[in-house]
């Protein structure tokens, strides 16, 4: 029912694409991260919560239609519904049903409940398209509560030592998780690219802690001893370095590995991720009972080999989603809040 074309994942029966990376007429969008929701589509379809994100990131005048979770609509005879993917707010797995055959394109997902995103719901299907960002058995997340505790302890320690806690996390999803985790611990400042997305959360009725939006181009001495959240594109930039008495922490699944922690030379690293870990991926895939799995972005070849080894027929698929080989966020120090680089974590 689906084919992988140079434009993106295509459903021929319905004549639409899912998360296409080239301009097309009709695009179904799993979630608002930039590598899945690109500009230039004539018509967008997404979950209600993703709509304000698309408008904020791509443009207010785009043509967007939105639906709720589990709501079935028909596109050229294909039954289409969006189901919670637990990745970030509004993130969805797109379920397609046509002539008794069911395909689920899951976008990015995680099975942990982060307390903000609608929790992941497994959907039974014949074919399942899965990401594999952390598809290696070394990636196993701690429970959300433990991770938040670690983060809180670290902030508390900084406060005791008179330091400013600077936390680095993606502006959509991660930043809001961090905000929730440190709620009530002190003055909270977020970079304005995060502030803009917070509005999308608030319009969905999600209560975020009180925060101040900052513009790092201004004098930032007043941030001293506060809690500051900035996006990864600003990591190690001159503007962030100006923040007084800082201790920095990176919040990312990659921080699970010591080499990655050391290489970034932050003062702390927390393996907090919005992607499924190794067991999360396996659990999700098994729950679909799919007879065929397409493995996209991440550890594609290793994860595919493993699935086949345990008896789940799988195939590697090349996509333009958060591909590590093309990851531009890693060393990029550019400040471009309106065109944020692909979210790959």
């Amino acid at each position: 029912m689906i084919t992988f074309l140079p434009e993106g994942i295509y459903c021929e029966a319905g004549n639409f694409y899912i998360d296409p990376w080239r301009p097309v007429d009709k695009a179904l969008i799993t979630h608002g991260h930039a590598d899945h929701a690109r500009r230039g589509m004539k018509h967008y379809l997404c979950h209600h919560y993703t709509k304000p994100i698309l408008k904020s990131r791509i443009g207010v005048d785009i043509d967007v239609q939105s639906v709720g979770y589990n709501e079935v609509i028909r596109i050229n005879g294909v039954k289409v519904s969006f189901h919670p993917a637990g990745h970030i707010i509004g993130s969805a797995q797109v379920r397609l049903e046509y002539k008794g055959r069911i395909v689920v394109v899951s976008g990015d997902y995680k099975v942990q409940d982060d307390g903000l995103s609608t929790p992941f719901e497994p959907v039974r299907c014949h074919e399942f398209v899965s990401e594999s960002t952390f598809g290696l058995p070394i990636y196993n997340w701690l429970p959300v509560w433990d991770l938040n505790k670690q983060l809180q302890d670290w902030v508390l320690r900084n406060q005791t030592n008179g330091k400013t806690s600077v936390l680095i996390g993606y502006s959509l999803g991660k930043a809001q998780r961090i905000m929730k985790a440190v709620e009530g611990m002190g003055r909270l400042y977020v970079h304005y690219s995060i502030g803009k997305l917070n509005e999308a959360y608030e319009s969905a009725g999600i209560d975020l802690p009180d925060y101040h939006t900052i513009d790092l181009r201004e004098d930032v001495r007043y941030l001293d001893k506060g809690i500051v959240i900035v996006p990864p594109s600003l990591w190690d930039s001159n503007v962030v370095r100006k923040i007084p008495n800082q201790a920095t922490a990176i919040c990312s699944g990659w921080m699970q590995v010591r080499g990655a922690r050391r290489w970034r030379s932050a003062d702390a690293g927390f393996a907090i991720s919005d992607h499924a870990d190794w067991n999360g991926l396996l659990e999700a895939i098994k729950a679909t009972e799919a007879e065929k799995v397409y493995v996209t972005h991440g550890q594609t070849s290793i994860f595919t080999r493993y699935l086949n080894e345990i008896g789940i027929p799988a195939e590697e698929v090349k996509t333009a989603f958060g591909n590590e080989e093309e990851d531009k966020t890693l060393l990029s120090h550019e400040v471009s809040p309106s065109h944020e680089q692909p979210e790959i974590n």
Binding site: L136, P137, Y139, S252, R261, A268, E309
Partner: protein, 526 residues
């Protein structure tokens, strides 16, 4: 072990000295005396021997986690460290074992006389009772190859500051020859087991690189000119019949150079000499790479001492018969140093030769040939200068020969682990050899972030083969590689080893046909 784990993790991640000091301070607040003592023991290399082969640990981890061999290998190549791979790959712990560092160390040392079965059940039980970070450290402790992410200087400074002691005295106390079980932490740090005053070194006097024409230094007669050597700068302290050798990093290295120590023990007088440790064979100074072979060895064999005989070139005299001579003029100190050598006919120590020179032009020519002597260049010291503390501009200058450079082509690129796996940051370069290519050097630094991105894109497009994180790439990109020295080597396929290779720049103007040839490069070796 929680405090210790927190310390290791903190030292590991941050590269800010203040954060490291804070972490050490926190550990000293939290840990008990035995754990603190173990920190010093591990830090100074007094760790128990490895009792379990790492291959066995790998095998047990594969069994326990129920994954295939190939998946373990893929994981390992992504993580880059065996202890860590094992720690991450095992299932979540089902229990929570709370033991102090010293309790763990006692158990680990107790493994020596245990059977393989007993060892295995101990390891499996421990793995099942520790979260990933603690498991990692447990594996490292088992492996007997533990490194803390802190320099001895930082640790010593932290201890000195906290207990209000002199840093060199602390260094002397903890670097000395003590054993677990025979000392207490407090006694050790306070120097109760040694006379720390006896070994006290002086801060080294350092020179600036000459930043003007030598003609501007005035009359050449006012300057003492010597060769600059590429060895280990050392301070040789002899007081009350005891000898201590300090390296410039303020580490006590006496035990690494027994022949020097023994000779100085026979010398008459109490003194402190500043000099350079070098390997000198048949009157010829050997490459630094030869000296390196002798450093930080657990045991120094007789064979090694014969094959790589170390000698000292003495530069200066800082103390004589208990009196601090650093304030006296260079001339005066040199005269006393020469007297000391007359008093003690010596085979292992020599005076650093003073180069007689009548004018700057002659000296400029001499510098050009300094490499022939295996020297790095020249030292210019004002004859009236005192022995300064640290680096001070004006009296001492180093006048190094320019580094050697070659043009080489990129042939392998390596990704790191985790997050950095997106970019190729470690490169291997090759030069021509009989119409083929031969590996000449690895270099890690020297490119900007933007260039790393550009190289990575090239690697992605032009990868020929894949070996885990390593790619062989089409030999096309040419880089200029600089290095400080070059020597013959049997360990390298090219037959040569470069010292401090680094990328100077990307030669986008050059093609692979223009890179250097190994035979030409060998001619640089003198």
């Amino acid at each position: 072990m929680k405090s210790f784990v927190r310390l290791v993790s903190a030292l590991d991640i941050t590269n800010k000295t203040t954060q490291k000091l804070e972490a050490i301070d926190r550990f000293l607040d939290e840990a008990d005396e035995q754990d603190k003592l173990w920190l010093l023991a591990l830090f100074t290399g007094k760790r128990p021997r490895r009792n379990i082969h790492s291959g066995l640990m790998r095998q047990w981890a594969i069994e326990r986690s129920g994954i295939s061999e190939w998946l373990f290998s893929e994981s390992y190549s992504s993580v880059g460290d065996m202890s860590e791979t094992i720690a991450l790959i095992l299932p979540q712990p089902r229990e929570n074992i709370e033991r102090s560092l010293s309790e763990w160390m006692d158990l680990i040392m107790g493994l020596k006389d245990k059977s393989e079965e007993e060892k295995k059940s101990f390891v499996l039980e421990s793995w099942d009772g520790l979260p990933a970070t603690e498991r990692f450290i447990f594996n490292k402790l088992l492996g007997g190859s533990f490194r803390l992410g802190v320099s001895s200087k930082t640790l010593i400074n932290a201890l000195a500051k906290r207990y209000d002691l002199d840093a060199n005295a602390v260094a002397h106390s903890i670097m000395g020859d003590w054993k677990m079980g025979e000392v207490t932490f407090e006694g050790l740090v306070n120097g109760n087991y040694s006379d720390t005053q006896l070994s006290k070194p002086y801060p080294f006097c350092l020179a600036y690189a000459l930043d003007k024409l030598p003609e501007n230094l005035g009359n050449i007669g006012e300057w003492q000119v010597e060769y600059k050597w590429d060895g280990i700068r050392g301070q040789f302290v002899k007081r009350k019949g005891e000898v201590f050798i300090w390296s410039r990093g303020e580490e006590l290295v006496t035990a690494q150079f027994p022949e020097i120590r023994d000779e100085l023990l026979r010398w008459r007088g109490d003194f402190v000499i500043d000099g350079e440790i070098l390997v000198i064979k048949d009157d010829e100074v050997l490459n630094f790479s030869e000296l390196q072979k002798r450093l930080n060895r657990k045991t120094l064999t007789k064979k090694m001492m014969e094959e790589l005989p170390v000698r000292v070139f003495a530069y200066d005299l800082l103390e004589w018969e208990g009196e601090d001579w650093r304030g006296k003029a260079m001339d005066e100190r040199r005269a006393k140093l020469e007297m000391l050598f007359q008093l003690n006919p010596s085979s292992h120590l020599r005076l650093s030769a003073i180069i007689p020179c009548l004018n700057w032009d002659e000296l400029t020519a001499l510098r050009e040939n300094a490499r022939d002597m295996r020297s790095e260049g020249l030292m210019l010291k004002h004859r009236q200068s005192p022995y300064h503390t640290g680096r001070k501009k004006g009296n001492w200058w180093k006048w190094k020969i320019s580094p050697l450079t070659i043009d080489a082509v990129l042939i392998y690129a390596r990704k790191g682990s985790g997050r950095r796996s997106a970019y190729y940051t470690d490169y291997t370069f090759a030069v021509k050899s009989e119409g083929k290519l031969v590996t000449i050097a690895k270099a890690y630094s020297g490119l900007t972030d933007k260039e790393i991105q550009e190289v990575s894109r090239f690697v992605n497009k032009n990868a020929l083969e894949k070996f885990g994180p390593v790619r062989t790439v089409k030999p096309e990109l040419v880089f200029e590689i600089a290095f400080e020295g070059i020597g013959f080597s049997t360990r390298h396929k090219s037959g040569v080893a470069l010292r401090f290779p680094r990328i100077v720049r990307w030669r986008k103007d050059k093609t692979v046909d223009e890179i250097d040839d190994i035979e030409e490069i060998k001619k640089l070796i003198k």
